[in-house]
Every structure is written in structure tokens, then in C-alpha cells.
């Protein structure tokens, strides 16, 4: 049996003192006096005024002593250690994600998990080796097979919870790798049971400790906006999710540029979400924030922010002989000033934010904007690997297609195949090779499609405008709508102006991180905090600042329907009775104490003495 708080046993010191006092009996000589009357009065007076009186032997005293002993045991938090704890390797996986900040367990799920993890480490026998994995947006090994228990406890104590979503798959992969190294490892996963987990370990070697009391959580899971062409007003759409088990009436407010704009009351069913439209927002507004005012267990996901489109129209130069498909798509994109020209008309390639070359390209690439090429001729910048005819082209896992849950493939009469340059990543491919790629060539980001749009059925596919819009938004320097609202923990490639000399990102807590040079700018992955970030680009003569929001990844962290993790999970009741790797005796003793108190009451009311 182990005592988590052995100091509680100090209370037992009172017991022998009480017993000794009871056992002590002083010998008295007889002394006859006229009357005891005055002495009895004197003693009564002393007893009435003094806090002490001579202890008397009675059953109540014994019951009280027993109660003290049990109470001291409860304070000592005793539990019986499981024999399986002797030696071996124990892995502790700590969920450090946003949902663990929920306060339905006090002080928070994460702190409760840490406390139990520390108890587990304390309970394990000497010679046990510990591995600790922090499971956040990027799972990592904090300690690997360390024998020093104090160090393990210190590391667990210093673990911090993040605002990001848990990459449970990544963590499970990491855990599986370690299990393959040591199949005897005992895995203890401390989480809130939201993400499904698949680990290659038998049930008796996997213990999941759930810290989830299903407290009510509401979140703004989406905030997006669009400037209406007719009214020149902004319309925003927010989605309000209710992750609790009961329907809830929520108060939602919209703030524009930090000022209150409107409030709504919306009824959201349990495990459902509702969309709210906010109309007639002035077009001058730059920043929109949507907040839920109703109290819940996690405040951080109660608000989301987004940047409105900048009024500055971006200049795009389309160099083509005739491509009606591209023109149509580019025309419907807001805030784009499209200039169409032919190669023969181009005197000087300068002054545009984006250059699109369709079927032809200049010898010298422009330096002040990013570039999209369709069916480019052979050139010195990248090499052809051949060609294909009558082929089917499909998408790769490029982020251009993120959240598009359909099969993206189309047919082409003819396409070029490319050798993927060192600086490039594949966008599209067929069975024979790469048909499209993108990457940074020096400071310019280039996207190359090896086919003529007219020789494919891509333009008639429903996803065509989406892909083109995303491609343009990706490449517009600092103008990507995508970065205006991302989730904490996501890694983002910020589109940097080719003329930028230095690029920084300022986090909500004021920390300034340089992401370039070297160019191309590194992907920014320090998005562990929720709030407004600033992208700061130092150009030759000016500094351009652009805000973007990192919002809570609530949809990944909370589920909108009842969910059971795919691994062994203790129920709530079991969790209370069974602390890590042993049986907690606290509840048992508590019941015993209650029984003794009932007996004591019975003895007292019936006047039973011994």
C-alpha cells in the first residue's frame, strides 16, 4: 500500500496521547472534609471555563479515535499498488491539446491528468523506466526510458498545455514506434477521450485515463466574410457549435474593428451547430470577431476572428493568346485588377502582384511578383521529363486541395511531364510522372501546370474555379485569404512579397519571430496560441503589416456527437475509485468512516456506555 500524502499520518500522533491519558490513574489519599459541596462547585466552574477536562473511558471515545485514524488515512490518500508496476517500462502520454484546458475538472483537465500521472510515477517500483510523450499538434518525446523518477516528475510538472489540436494519429504512430522497440512497454494515455486512438498493444498493456466530464462547451467554429458586389457591404457567416449534451440558448456578439456591432441569441441543439449571418457590415471594416457570451468550460474557443478583404486591389497580369476559362475565373475573384496582354505587347515585366503565363513565357522572369504558368515552353528554370497523351491527371496531397473531399482528377489529351526541381513540390501527377508543381525559385514562387487548359476537361469540372482561386490566393503576396483565419497548431506557409528583405511574425503575446531570410520563407508553425498575429514584411522603402487570426481548433478537439475512444477507457466511476496503477482506498475508508459516524450517533442517542 502506498500513501500519496504520508504527512496525513501525523494526525495519528494524537491517538496514543489520548490513550495514555486514559490509562493514567493517579493514586489519591483520603482526606475527610466537612462537605464536598464547594469543591464540586469549584470543579464544575473549572470544567465550564477550561477547554480541557479529564478524559473518560467510554465507547464514544473509542469510536472517535477510530474516526481520527480513518480520517488521517483518508488525508494520506492510500492506495494499493498493482503488482504489475514492479520494474518494466512505463510510457506516459500526456494530451497537451486545447480541450485539456477545459475546466469541467478542477483546476483543469490537464492539471488533473498531470496530478494522476505524478501519482503513477510515484507508485511505480524502483527500476521502472519511464518514457513521456507530449501529445499536442506535433507530438514529441519528452523523455525516453529514463530511470530517474525525480526528473520524470519534474518534466511532467513542467509540461504546458497548448491551444492547438491534438494530433492523436501522429502520437499513436510515435507510440507504436516505441512499442515496436519494446513490446513490453506499459502505455498510460492521459487524455480527454475525444480523439480515437489506435495503438498496437494488448488491452492489458494499455490504460486510458479519461478526464472528461462532458461539461458544456460552445465554440465559434467558423467565421468567414464576403464583400457583396451590389451593396458594397460585408456579409459575415459564423457557425456556432454546441458540444454539450444539452440544447443551449447562446448569446453571440459580433465585433468589428474591436467595437460591438450586433448581438444575437441562437438556440443550438446538443451536438449540433447553427449558422449565423451578419449583414450590412460596413465595407471599411478590416477586422471581424465573433464571440459567444454564454459561460462554458473552455473560454478560448468562444471567439474567432477574421480579417476582411483589403480594399487594395491586387494587380494580375494575364499573358495569353486567348484563354476564356482563366479570364472568367479571374474576373469573378474580388479585389483583382486583371490585365490581359500578349507576349509581344509586353515591354517591361514590372508592377504586378501576380503574373500568369499561358502557353508562353519571357526569357527573364519578373522579379516583383509570383508566377503561374500553363503549358510553358522549354526553359532554363526547370527540366522536362517527357510527356503523356490521353492521360488521366489527378491531384496530389498538396494543401491546394485541403478540405476538398472529392476525387480530383480530369483527362488531358496531352501534357508535359517534369523532373521535380529541388525547390518544388508536386501538385498534380499522372501514372507516368509529375504534371504540375510549385515552389520558390529564389524569392519568386512559381506554379507550373504542364498542360494547355483547352486540351483538358479540367475547365468543365466543378472544382476548376476553386483550384484556380486557391492557386491565385496562394500566390498573391500577403493577400492570401487563407491566412486570415487558421487553427492553432497549423503550420502555414505565408505568402511573402518577393521584394521583402525581412519577414517577421508577431505572436499574440508579443514574441517576434523572423521567418525570412533565408528565402523562401520558412513555414510558420508557432501557431500554438489563439489570437491575432501580425505578418510584418520589411520592403525596400516601407514596412507592410498584415493581421491574421489563429482560431481554436474546436471541431478537432470536441465532437458534435457522442463518441467513445477506440481504446480501453475507464468509466467515470471507475476513474474515481481507481487511481493509476492501483486501487485507491480513499473511498472505501470514507464509507467506513461514515459507518462509524452512524454507529457513534446511534450510541450517543441510545446512551450506550461501557
Amino acid at each position: 500500500m502506498i500513501l500519496h500524502s504520508p504527512w496525513g499520518l501525523l494526525a495519528l500522533l494524537a491517538v496514543p496521547v489520548i490513550i495514555i491519558l486514559y490509562l493514567m490513574k493517579q493514586k489519591h489519599d483520603d482526606y475527610i472534609i466537612s462537605s464536598l459541596y464547594l469543591w464540586q462547585s469549584a470543579l464544575q466552574d473549572m470544567e465550564a471555563n477550561a477547554p480541557w477536562q479529564k478524559l473518560k473511558k467510554n465507547i464514544l471515545m473509542f469510536l472517535q479515535i477510530l474516526s481520527i485514524i480513518l480520517l488521517s488515512l483518508i488525508l494520506s490518500e492510500p492506495f494499493i499498488k498493482n503488482d504489475k508496476n514492479k520494474g518494466g517500462t512505463v510510457m506516459l502520454v500526456m494530451d497537451c491539446s486545447l480541450s485539456m484546458q477545459s475546466t469541467d475538472m478542477k483546476p483543469s483537465r490537464f492539471e488533473a491528468a498531470k496530478k494522476d500521472a505524478l501519482k503513477l510515477v510515484e507508485a511505480c517500483g524502483a527500476g521502472t523506466e519511464f518514457s513521456v510523450i507530449a501529445s499536442g499538434s506535433t507530438p514529441y518525446i519528452v523523455l525516453h526510458q529514463v530511470n530517474d523518477r525525480n526528473k520524470v516528475m519534474q518534466e511532467i510538472n513542467s509540461l504546458n498545455v497548448t491551444d492547438a489540436a491534438e494530433d492523436s494519429e501522429g502520437t499513436a504512430e510515435l507510440v507504436n514506434t516505441l512499442i515496436r522497440e519494446n513490446p513490453e512497454i506499459q502505455v498510460n494515455w492521459f487524455g480527454d477521450g475525444v480523439s480515437p486512438i489506435t495503438v498496437d498493444v494488448s488491452d492489458d498493456k494499455m490504460m486510458y485515463y479519461s478526464y472528461n466530464r462532458n461539461g458544456a462547451n460552445y465554440a465559434v467554429t467558423l467565421l468567414t466574410q464576403r464583400k457583396m458586389q451590389n451593396s458594397r457591404k460585408i456579409t459575415a457567416l459564423s457557425r456556432i457549435a454546441n458540444f454539450s449534451l444539452q440544447d443551449a440558448e447562446l448569446d453571440v456578439s459580433l465585433y468589428t474593428d474591436g467595437n460591438f456591432f450586433d448581438a444575437r441569441r441562437v438556440m443550438v441543439g446538443a451536438g449540433k451547430s447553427e449558422s449565423l449571418y451578419w449583414m450590412e457590415i460596413p465595407e471599411s471594416v478590416l477586422r471581424l470577431e465573433c464571440k459567444i457570451d454564454t459561460e462554458d468550460i473552455l473560454k478560448k474557443d468562444n471567439s474567432a476572428g477574421i480579417m476582411a478583404y483589403s480594399d487594395n486591389a491586387r494587380k494580375v497580369l494575364l499573358t495569353t493568346k486567348k484563354n476564356v476559362f482563366l479570364e472568367k475565373v479571374l474576373n469573378i475573384m474580388p479585389n483583382l485588377e486583371l490585365y490581359r496582354t500578349g507576349m509581344e505587347d509586353v515591354n517591361e515585366m514590372k508592377g504586378y502582384d501576380l503574373y500568369i503565363f499561358d502557353g508562353e513565357m519571357p526569357e527573364q522572369l519578373p522579379r516583383d511578383g509570383h508566377i503561374i504558368m500553363f503549358n510553358p515552353p522549354q526553359n532554363k528554370f526547370f527540366s522536362l521529363a517527357g510527356g503523356s497523351e490521353y492521360t488521366k491527371i489527378r491531384s496530389t496531397k498538396h494543401k491546394l486541395y485541403s478540405n476538398l473531399n472529392q476525387d480530383i482528377s480530369f483527362s488531358a489529351l496531352k501534357t508535359d511531364l517534369y523532373q521535380l526541381p529541388e525547390w518544388g513540390s508536386s501538385i498534380m501527377e499522372n501514372d507516368e510522372g509529375i504534371t504540375a508543381f510549385e515552389g520558390y525559385l529564389d524569392k519568386n514562387r512559381i506554379m507550373v501546370f504542364g498542360f494547355n487548359l483547352h486540351e483538358t476537361n479540367l475547365p468543365v469540372q466543378p472544382f476548376f474555379p476553386i483550384i484556380i482561386t486557391r492557386a491565385v490566393q496562394e500566390l498573391l503576396p500577403g493577400g492570401s485569404n487563407e491566412i486570415s483565419a487558421i487553427n492553432a497548431g497549423d503550420s502555414i506557409e505565408l505568402s511573402v512579397d518577393p521584394e521583402a528583405r525581412e519577414v517577421f511574425v508577431v505572436t499574440p503575446d508579443g514574441k517576434k519571430t523572423r521567418i525570412a531570410p533565408p528565402f523562401p520563407a520558412a513555414a510558420f508553425d508557432e501557431t500554438t496560441q489563439i489570437g491575432a498575429y501580425t505578418l510584418e514584411q520589411q520592403l525596400e522603402n516601407e514596412t507592410v503589416q498584415q493581421l491574421f487570426f489563429v482560431n481554436a481548433p474546436s471541431e478537432k478537439e470536441f465532437v458534435l456527437s457522442n463518441h467513445t475512444p477506440s481504446v480501453q477507457q475507464n468509466s467515470e466511476t471507475e476513474q474515481e475509485n481507481k487511481t493509476p496503477r492501483g486501487w485507491d482506498l480513499k473511498m472505501l475508508i470514507l464509507w467506513l468512516l461514515l459507518a462509524i459516524l452512524i454507529v457513534e450517533w446511534w450510541v450517543y442517542t441510545n446512551g450506550i456506555t461501557i
Binding site: 493517579q26 493514586k27 489519591h28 489519599d29 483520603d30 482526606y31 475527610i32 472534609i33 466537612s34 462537605s35 464536598l36 459541596y37 464547594l38 469543591w39 464540586q40 462547585s41 469549584a42 470543579l43 466552574d45 473549572m46 477550561a50
Partner: protein, 286 residues
């Protein structure tokens, strides 16, 4: 002549007079001033003449001055029935000097003084009942009756003065009642006084304690044994316990005194180490 009441003792008490300020309705003439207006030589007051008054008492000089008839009132002297209750419970046979000796001497002295003043004296030795008594003794010549009773008292029983005096049936009519006791007694002291006052008695309470009761000399862990009930109490004497004892004693005395004041009764705190004449003076010259 016994040791208790030797000639020296008798000489000391002969000159003392017990003075009682109360009214009496007895028929025998005595040496005690009565509130009744009678035919003695001591002038008391004037009163307007009413029909039926003895016209020989009309003060004609006053008639000459006020042209109204006044009669002169004089103090009438009567004998007082004096009853002395002496507590003879076991608790009275304790202390150094012993309370039994001091209390008996006081009782004898008061009885002698009353006899010397032509009063009728009764003495009753009480514990929880009447042990011995001697009723209606008149004249100093019969003082030996009283002393012989006092000399042969056995201190054995438990004290319940209220019960004992109720049993005695005090004579109705005005008189003097003296109670000499340590008042470690069962029964209600207040009820006792009520009974005596109802019987028109002028009550003298002589509360006698030994010096060891006033200031205990015990300074160790002892088992106290009650002399009357044989009840025991284990104590370890500490300064705080002694303080509490002093407080309890003060409360005890104050309670008795306040009850006496409430019923218009004379209360005297006496100690067994006081000389007899000192005690008598305390009582007589109150």
C-alpha cells in the same frame, strides 16, 4: 462546670445584651421593647384621640396648644420567645478550631443573654431532623438545662435544616429565631426563611465556617471524602482549582446573604477561630 461553659465563659456573657428590633404579641411582661404602644414610662409618639381610647392618656397640654385631643403613646415592654436552631450534622464537627465548639458556645451565649433579658428561650439541635431540644426556658436559673443539652450533642447525621425546622413547628407569633449552621445543607434556604418570616420571626442567620473551609490547606492530589455522605472526589489541587474554590465559596456566601437581604433577615459570617465574645458582639451589635 464543664470545659465548654466554664465560669470565665459565663462571666463574659453576663454583660452582653441581645438586641432585637421586632414586634411581639406575647402576654408576659419582659425586658424587650415592643412596637406595641402600651403603658410603660418610655414615651413613643402622639396620636389623635378617637372614641374608645383611654381618656386618661389625653395630653391636656397639647389640647391647650392645638385645641385638639391627642393621646400619648408609650413603648410597651414584652418578653420575646427566642428559638435557637443549632446545626448538629456531621459537617459541623470539623475544622480547627472545631466548628462544633464555637457554634455551641455561641448558642449558649445567645441563650444566656436572652434569659438574662427575661426572654423565653428554646433551643433545638437539628440535622435532618430534631435531635434534641429544650423548650421555653425562662430565667437564668434554668440556663443549666440548655448547657446540659449542648454538652451532650452527637454529631452524626446529614444536614437538612429546612426539613428539621419544618418539623419543629415554630410557634406562631412574633419572636426571634437564630440559626447557627455551616449551611452545607440540603433543602431550600429560601423556603426556610419564607416559613420563618411567615411565622413572624426575626431571623438571625449565623453562618459559621472553619478557617480550613475559608482557605483550604490541601496542596496535593487527594481523594476528598464528604464527612456526611462519605461521597468521594479525586482532585489535584492547583492554583486555578483553589481560585475556583474561593470563587465558589464567595458565591455560596453571597447567595445566602442575598437571600437574607431579600427576606429582611440578619446574616452574620462567622469563623470558628473567632472568640466567643467577638461572635456575640457581631450578632448583638449588628
Amino acid at each position: 462546670m464543664s470545659q465548654l461553659f466554664n465560669s470565665n465563659f459565663l462571666q463574659k456573657i453576663q454583660q452582653l445584651t441581645l438586641n432585637a428590633r421586632f414586634s411581639m404579641d406575647g402576654n408576659s411582661a419582659g425586658n424587650r421593647k415592643s412596637r406595641s404602644k402600651g403603658s410603660s414610662v418610655e414615651f413613643s409618639d402622639y396620636r389623635e384621640y378617637t372614641q374608645g381610647d383611654d381618656f386618661r392618656r389625653i395630653d391636656w397640654s397639647a389640647y391647650g396648644r392645638f385645641e385638639k385631643l391627642f393621646i400619648k403613646l408609650f413603648m410597651e415592654e414584652r418578653e420575646a420567645p427566642v428559638t435557637i436552631f443549632l446545626d448538629v450534622s456531621k459537617s459541623m464537627d470539623w475544622g480547627e478550631p472545631n466548628k462544633s465548639i464555637s457554634s455551641r458556645r455561641l448558642a449558649a451565649a445567645l441563650a444566656y443573654i436572652s434569659l438574662a433579658n427575661f426572654d423565653r428561650v428554646s433551643i433545638a439541635c437539628v440535622d435532618d431532623g430534631i435531635q434534641q431540644m429544650c423548650k421555653d426556658v425562662r430565667g437564668k436559673n434554668f440556663f443549666h438545662k440548655i448547657t446540659s443539652i449542648l454538652e451532650n450533642i452527637q454529631y452524626t447525621g446529614e444536614s437538612n435544616i429546612q426539613k428539621a425546622i419544618e418539623n419543629y413547628r415554630v410557634q406562631s407569633g412574633r419572636g426571634i429565631t437564630v440559626i447557627i449552621s455551616d449551611f452545607f445543607s440540603q433543602g431550600s434556604f429560601s423556603e426556610l426563611l419564607k416559613l420563618l418570616i411567615y411565622n413572624k420571626q426575626a431571623v438571625y442567620i449565623c453562618h459559621i465556617l472553619s478557617p480550613q473551609e475559608v482557605q483550604p490547606t490541601i496542596n496535593e492530589a487527594v481523594r476528598l471524602v464528604d464527612s456526611e455522605t462519605r461521597e468521594v472526589l479525586d482532585i489535584t489541587v492547583t492554583p486555578s482549582l483553589l481560585n475556583s474554590y474561593t470563587k465558589a465559596l464567595d458565591n455560596f456566601r453571597i447567595q445566602i446573604e442575598q437571600t437574607c437581604i431579600k427576606w429582611g433577615v440578619y446574616y452574620f459570617q462567622l469563623s470558628s477561630n473567632m472568640a466567643m465574645e467577638e461572635m456575640v458582639k457581631e450578632v448583638v451589635e449588628h
